[in-house]
């Protein structure tokens, strides 16, 4: 079975761990999720009507 060939074992291990430690975590950590909005805290402020002229 070619998987049992010990020749590239160390190279595969080193390279896989290097990629696993250096490349993937920044990509995973950059996924941030915003907090869910709380519906109770919504404040509807009363706005007044337009009283100043257009120009």
């Amino acid at each position: 079975m070619p998987q049992l060939n010990p020749n590239p074992w160390f190279m595969i291990m080193t390279f896989a761990w290097l990629l696993f430690l250096i490349v993937i975590p920044p990509k995973v950590l950059a996924h941030t999720t915003p907090n869910n909005a709380l519906p109770q805290k919504v404040v509807c402020s009363r706005t007044e009507s337009w009283v100043w002229p257009w120009y």
């Binding site: 079975m1 070619p2 998987q3 049992l4 060939n5 020749n7 590239p8 074992w9 190279m11 595969i12 291990m13 390279f15 896989a16 761990w17 990629l19 696993f20 490349v23 993937i24 975590p25 920044p26 990509k27 995973v28 950590l29 950059a30 996924h31 941030t32 999720t33 915003p34």
Partner: protein, 227 residues
Amino acid sequence: MMLNLFDQFMSPTLLGIPLMLLALSLPWVLYPKPLKRWLNNRTLTIQSWFINNFIKQIFLPMNTEGHKWAMLLTSLLIFLITLNLLGLLPYTFTPTTQLSLNMAFATPIWLTTVILGMRKQPTHSLGHLLPEGTPTLLIPILVVIETISLFIRPLALGVRLTANLTAGHLLIQLIASGAYFLFPLMPAVALLTSTLLFLLTLLEVAVAMIQAYVFVLLLSLYLQENI
């Protein structure tokens, strides 16, 4: 003829350059790094959703101390599931069929969980070697059996993933060559074989995802025992 079937698992080299490096590093092009914007594109949204659901699923039964492992286990899942799924495409090489890769991930992480358990709470960790309520006479034998099962865990983890993926790829190659060679001789049988090949490929997609998940799930269970 028999040995040719395993040639697909040889570590690929081209003029002496190991192509394993390409097989390991190119899949990460599919995972763009999200920028600091609130609305992302569909790819990033799907990946975020997947990562969040996975973390909720795995870390719900774990105590707060174990939540520090979220980054490691998520990265490991993304690593394994991407390599497994991409390997099902034609003419690709699946690095996770290599025992070296799977053992390289299983052994250090399992050993970390064991050593953490032994350092922080040695009595509790050693207590796992004896199931509750065993009859007094059986205690020595059971401790030996549980110790053996503890040490077999990294081997089982690595070999489980390797064997599942290797067997799947072998079956796909066998049935595909069967369908190919039968086609000029007995087209009806070749059609049945092709249907079988299609169903098998669907199974292999499922197996690829499930095996990656099982690998990470088992590591999280070993962590829960020891943290």
